[in-house]
Subunit: 139 residues, 2 copies
């Protein structure tokens, strides 16, 4: 696991590592939501990555989106739309959110960031969601 | 110009075309904000693009982010952070927002999407902003 900002530890759980990114499950049962954190040091903007790493990041975004479809299905709420966001206004370490959205989710059609309070997963659901994501990502 | 959803026409102005994407300036003087619209038909998710087009999209996101730095500087408010988002909950045609953010902008540190009402550029500033962006993108 790379050096990651403590803010990620407080709000998400480690799933595993892809080639470029560490993957975390956001601890918010309102939406299937994964966070990709590129493993290099001192990264803040996408442009800080090499072109090769940027292409890899894009492929990992797609791969994580496909895992979110599996996760949402497993949790009984398949995503209807994927949302991808690289913000970093609050936590500057470069990271990309990939979120499965549905017309019946609480923030729809607005963005999830900053919307209401997270609803942590019950422990058994968290374990199931993490394992389901790991299998979907084959990690 | 590709077939674009009328929602884009109502909220933004054409800047020009890169290899993959049509580029538009969001008509909102609160933030320097460009929208990339990949030119293919029927695209809704990033995964709908080929891997080659996805890598190109990533490079165009970076290029547009650099143009936003030039634009923000020209308008007297250089971006301190770039925000990148592909949502599409309201307008399903695939598009990517790239926004220059500052600690003194009205939505900081929250996302810009769905925050308050757009403040259209005065006509002379719009013309200057569009031309500045075009030059920065060399299109």
């Amino acid at each position: 696991m790379p050096q990651i900002d403590p803010a990620f530890v407080a709000t998400s759980h480690a799933v595993g590592d892809l080639t470029l990114c560490h993957v975390r499950l956001q601890d918010d049962a309102r939406y299937p939501w994964l966070v990709l954190i590129p493993k290099g040091e001192g990264l803040r903007e996408i442009e800080d990555l090499t072109a090769g790493d940027r292409a890899e990041l894009m492929e990992e975004i797609v791969r994580v989106g496909q895992a979110l479809r599996v996760l949402g299905e497993a949790l009984g709420a398949p995503p209807e739309k994927l949302n991808v966001g690289a913000l970093g206004n609050v936590t500057p370490q470069l990271h990309v959110h990939v979120v499965g959205r549905r017309r019946d989710d609480p923030a729809w059609p607005g963005p999830v960031w900053g919307f209401g309070a997270a609803e942590p997963y019950p422990a058994d659901v968290l374990a199931y969601a993490t394992e389901t994501t790991r299998r979907a990502l084959d990690i």
